[in-house]
Symmetry: C3
Subunit: 428 residues, 3 copies
C-alpha cells in the first residue's frame, strides 16, 4: 500500500514532475525504426512523457523529434511536407530541420535573419537496433547510447514490436517485474504457445504455485530471483532483471528466444509497451518470426493500421468464457500480452495504490517502487545520476537455471546474468 | 422549482451522500435473475449507487455481490474463474467466497492465516421473484426481503425486463409518478399497443386532457390519485402508488397485465429501469409474453447483447418525423418506454431543477421530492427508519376505477389498493 | 503573441462574456434557409454563442428561435409537435409561439392566465437571402437587417453552404483574413479547382511567394490589401474585406463567383462556417452550381445527413500522402475548405496564442484582434456601438486588380470595393 502522494509521484511523468525528470535522464524508445523507414518519408506524431511531438527523417536520412506544432501559429507539422533538408509546415511554408531550427520563413525578406531566432523544442532521435531512441533531458547530461543486448545483436537475431496500453506506465512495469502471476494467468501459454512451450522449466513453473522471492539490488535496478521446487535437492530459479527506469527481461525458456519489454509513458494514463525477442547466438528462425508477427509469445495482433491491440477494452479483449470454462485459458483472454494488458487496464488508468494489499510475492514490486522514489528524490535534491544511466548497467540478461538448494543464485549466475557477445543465454 | 442544494441532495446517491444513505436502507433490484442463471456461471459487472461491483453465483448456487476489484492489486474480478466455492482472480489466483471473504492466497504458505484478514466489501444478494436484490447498508438494520406482489406471484404470472437509462434516477422516477403526460406522450400507445389498447379507461384518458390531481401520503410513500371525467356524475380514477424510494406502479387497463418500475441509480448520471408486468390471478398468455419480449407495452428493444435500448440518444431514438406528422405518434418516438426515456434523457444527465415551472398536475412530483428530502434528513439527523422499509408497505397495488363523483378514492379503494393474493386487480 | 487573458477574451463568446456581448450586437447567420423549408416543418436544434436553442417555422411560415428546453420541466422541444400556431412540447403538451411565449398549458383550467406568465428566451429569426439570421442581443439596440451583397442579389446568383468546424471561431476567422497561406496550402486549388483555376491572377499568386501586406482600417473592420509582383511596373493586388465581427470575403479570380465566409461561434470549441459564392451581375451556371454542391471551391462534402465534413479529424481528413508526395496537394488534404479546416483544427480546440510567433504577413490578423478587443472593451465600458453594426458597412466587396506600382489600392479601388447593384466585380 502506498500513500497517495507517493502514488502520484510515481505515476506522473509530464514536464516538471519528479518522475518526469527521472525519465528525462535516460534514452527511452520513441518509435520502431520502421516507422521512419527511409529518407524523406512521412512524419509521425509521437507523444512521450505527456509531450506532443513530431518525428521525421529528413532527405539526408537524419532523424528528428520536435514539438508537433509550428512556432508560427500552432498548426500541426504532421501535415507538413518533408522536403530537401527539412519539414515544411503546410500552412505558411515555415521550414524546420531535424534539430527543430527554423530554416525558412518564406514571407520574410531574403536577407532577414528572423528564422534563425525561431527554434522548436527538439530532442535527439537515434537508431540503435530496430528502435529509435530519444533523450528528452538536459543536453549537458546526455548519456551514451543504450547498450541493451536486444538492440546490439545482429539484426537477424532480434525482433521488436510495440503496442499501446491504456494505463499508466507503472502498472504495466509492475507486471513485468511480477514473476508470480505467470503460473496462473499465463498457464495456457506455457503449454501451448509456440514461443513458450516444451521447455523443462515450464514443468517446474506449473508444478509449484508458491514461488519464493529473493530480490537483490543490482547496480542498475533489481535482480528479482524466484525459486520453485525442482528435482530432489534442487531449485528452479527464474531471474528477472529490471534496469531503471523501465526495462525488464523475462527469464528465458529452453532454446526459445529471450524476451522483455521497455515500458514508456505516453502520458499519465497511457503507455507504449516495446516488446522484444532476441537470441544472443543464433538467428530467429522463419517459423519463430512468423509466430511473433502473428502475435504469439509476448507480441499481439493489432487493429489494422494502428498500434492498438485488436483485443482491447472496447471489445472486452474478445473474452471467451467457453475457453475459460474448458480451462483452455485461465482468464478467458487469448495471448500472453493481452492477458497482462487486460488485467492491468482493468485496474483503471491509474490504479489506486492506497487500497492494495501486498504480499511477499510482491517484494520485487515493492523494492522497485522504493528505488524509483529514492532516485527521483535524490535527483531532485542533489542532481544524483540515477541507476541505469550508465550503459554498463544495460549489459544484463535474464536467466533460468536449476541449482542445488544450497547455492546462491547471485553467486552462481554472475556470468549468466551478464550479456556477453557470442555466449548463449542460460536457460532451462 | 428547487434550490440547487436540494437538487444535489436528491440526485446524488454515492457513498456518504444523504440520498445515498437513504437508498442504502432498502433492498433494491441489482440484476435480473437470469443474468446469473446457474451455479458457477460467469460473473457479471454491476454498478449501483456509484459503487462498482461484481455479482456471481458460486458452485453451490449461492449469490454474491462484492467490490469488483481484487484486494491484492486492484485487477477486475470480472476476468475471474468461477470455481468450486468461490471466484478466483485471474491475475494471481486470490480466491473469494460470496461474502467477499478471501479464502485463498496461493503464494502464501499453507499455514498462513493471511487470507482470513482479507475481505472485500460485499452485500447480500438474494433472489425474490425473477429479480436479484441487494441491500447495501448497515447489516444491523437489514430489513426483511421485499414483498412487492410483482415478485411474489407465481413465476408464470410475472415478467421483468431492465434497461439502461442515461439520466439521473430522479428524473426517471418523476416520469413514473407523473400521470399527466400519458394523454399526450403516450396517446398512440393507448390506441395501438397490444398491452394497452381496448380498455374502457383509455377512452376516459384520451377524452379528458385536464386531469385533476389528488395526492395522498401513504405509509410507504404516496398515492397519486388522478381523476378524469367519465359518464354523467362519475369520475375515472387512476391511482399510482409510489413506495419509497423508487418503486412506482402504473394504474392497470382492462384485463391487461399490471405494470410498474423500480428506478435504481447506477451513478449520478445513469440509472437502471426495472420494468415489470404481472397479473395477480392469472398467467401471462403466450401472446402477451411475446409482446413484452418484443419490446411492447412498457418494455423495449435492445442493442443486441446489452441492456442499452436500441433506440437511444446516439440515434435520436430513431425519431420518425413522418409518423409524428401523420399523428401515429405524438413525439415521433416509437414505444411507451422510449417515449419516456427520450424526453427524460433530453433534459440532460441531471436536469437543472432551479429553472423548472411546476403546476398543479406536478403535485405528485412535488410531494415525492418533499418526502425524499425529509426522509433523508431525518435519517441523517435521527437515524429514523424511512417509509417503505417496512415490507407491509410493499403490499400495494395500482388501481383504475370509475366512482361516483361524491366518493373519496381513498375510502372506496382501500381494498383495491392492497395486494391480496388470489384477488384480481381493480381495473377499468 | 497574446497574453492569456486577451486570448480568453477573444475566444469566449458565451452569455456574459465580453466577446459574447460583442457578438450579441450583430445579426449573425443561424441556419440555412432550407433547414426550415416550409410552414410547419420539423424543428431544428441550434447552438450559437454557447446557447442551446430550437429553431422552427410555424404553420403561418413565421420563424422562431428560442430556448431548446420546455419551461415546465426541461424536456427538449426538439421532440415537439409543430402544430397550428406554435410548437407543442411532447411531454405534457405545453405550447409556444415563435416569440417563445407559452400559449397553452393543457393541464391548467381554461380560464387560467398561467401560460401568459411563461415565456422562453427567444430571439428574432429572419430570412435574408438563403440564410436565416438572428440577433441575440438587447431588443432596444436591434440593428437593421443585414445588407451583405451575397444575401441581397437575386437567388439564382448566390449559393450558400455551411459546415461544422471543430475549433474556436477565432482561429477559423484568422484563416479568412490571412491571405498569405494561399500560395502554399491552396496551391493545388489555384491550378485545378473548377471554381478557381484559369485566372490570370493565379499566376501572380503562385509566382510571388512573398506578398507584401498593407492593412487599412475600414469603417466596418479592415481592408487587408496584399500585393504581389505582376508585369513590369505593376502590382497584383488582392483585397480582403473583414466586416466585424466575423464576415470575410476572398478576393475573386477572373470570372469565377466571388466567395467568402461568416464564422459563427457554436460554443468556445466549435463554430459554424457559412460559406458563400455569388455573382453581382449574372446567374451561377449549372456547372458552377454542381461544382459547389460537389464540394469544390470553398465548399466541401459531408458525412451524409449532417453538416460535418466527410473529411474530418477522426479520419485524418482522408490525408493522402502519395498525392502530397507527388505534389498534387501541398498538405495531402483534398479541397480548399478542408485544407483550412484541417490545419486550424490541428491547433487544438482553442489555440494557445501565448506561444505564437507572428510576422509581418500576419498584420491583418494582428489588427483584427486589436479592433475586436477594442470594440469589446468600449462596448463593455461605454456601450459604444461597434463597427459593422451599421448596415452601410455591409455594402463591400473583395477585389483583385493589377495596378501601377505608384497607385494606392485604397484610392484606386474605392468604387471596386463598394457593392453596387448591377456593377460587375473587379477581378483578375
Amino acid at each position: 500500500m502506498l500513500r497517495q502522494d507517493i502514488n502520484e509521484l510515481l505515476t506522473q511523468t509530464g514536464p516538471g514532475t519528479a518522475m518526469g525528470d527521472l525519465f528525462r535522464q535516460y534514452w527511452i524508445p520513441a518509435l520502431l525504426a520502421d516507422e521512419l523507414p527511409e529518407p524523406g518519408c512521412p512524419p509521425v506524431r509521437v507523444k512521450l512523457l505527456s509531450e506532443r511531438m513530431i518525428a521525421f527523417r529528413d532527405s539526408d536520412g537524419r532523424y528528428g523529434l520536435m514539438d508537433e506544432f509550428c512556432a508560427h501559429r500552432g498548426a500541426s507539422l504532421w501535415f507538413g511536407n518533408n522536403e530537401a533538408g527539412g519539414l515544411r509546415c503546410a500552412y505558411h511554408g515555415w521550414k524546420y530541420d531535424v534539430t527543430g531550427q527554423c530554416i525558412e520563413v518564406p514571407s520574410e525578406p531574403d536577407n532577414s535573419s528572423f528564422c534563425t531566432k525561431v527554434k522548436l523544442t527538439a530532442y535527439p532521435l537515434i537508431r540503435v537496433g530496430d528502435v529509435l531512441w530519444t533523450y528528452m533531458g538536459d543536453p549537458a547530461t546526455q548519456p551514451d547510447p543504450p547498450e541493451f543486448e536486444w538492440v546490439t545483436v545482429p539484426s537477424e537475431q532480434t525482433y521488436t514490436s510495440k503496442r499501446w496500453q491504456e494505463s499508466n506506465w507503472l502498472q504495466a512495469l509492475e507486471g513485468g517485474i511480477d514473476s508470480s502471476h505467470v503460473s496462473w494467468l499465463h498457464s495456457d501459454g506455457l503449454k501451448n504457445d509456440p514461443l513458450f512451450k516444451g521447455s523443462k522449466g515450464n514443468e517446474y513453473n506449473l508444478n509449484d504455485m508458491r514461488p519464493f522471492f529473493e530480490v537483490v539490488e543490482s547496480d542498475g535496478g533489481l535482480l528479482v530471483g524466484v525459486r520453485r521446487n525442482a528435482e530432489e535437492g534442487h531449485y528452479y530459479w527464474r531471474i528477472t532483471p529490471w534496469v531503471m527506469p523501465a526495462f525488464t527481461m523475462v527469464p528465458p525458456r529452453g532454446d526459445h528466444p529471450v524476451h522483455g519489454h521497455f515500458w514508456v509513458p505516453i502520458d499519465d494514463e497511457n503507455c507504449w509497451v516495446f516488446t522484444f525477442d532476441y537470441l544472443p547466438t543464433r538467428a530467429i528462425t522463419p517459423a519463430e518470426l512468423q509466430a511473433m508477427k502473428d502475435g504469439r509469445g509476448v507480441h499481439n495482433e493489432y487493429v489494422p493500421g494502428t498500434f492498438r491491440p485488436l483485443q482491447n477494452k472496447d471489445n472486452d479483449y474478445l473474452m471467451d468464457r467457453d475457453a475459460q470454462r474448458r480451462g483452455e485459458t485461465f482468464s478467458g483472454i487469448r495471448g500472453i500480452a493481452m492477458q497482462d494488458a487486460s488485467l492491468q487496464e482493468s485496474m483503471g488508468p491509474i490504479v489506486d495504490r492506497t487500497k492494495e494489499r501486498l504480499v511477499s510475492a510482491d517484494s520485487g514490486i515493492i523494492k522497485a517502487r522504493r528505488r524509483l522514489v529514492q532516485a527521483a528524490q535524490e535527483l531532485r535534491d542533489d542532481r544524483t545520476v540515477p541507476p541505469g544511466v550508465d550503459t554498463t548497467h544495460h549489459r544484463i540478461r535474464s536467466v533460468s537455471i536449476v541449482l542445488p538448494k544450497e547455492e546462491s543464485f547471485l553467486e552462481s549466475c554472475r556470468d549468466a546474468l551478464t550479456a556477453t557477445p557470442g555466449v548463449r543465454q542460460t536457460s532451462v
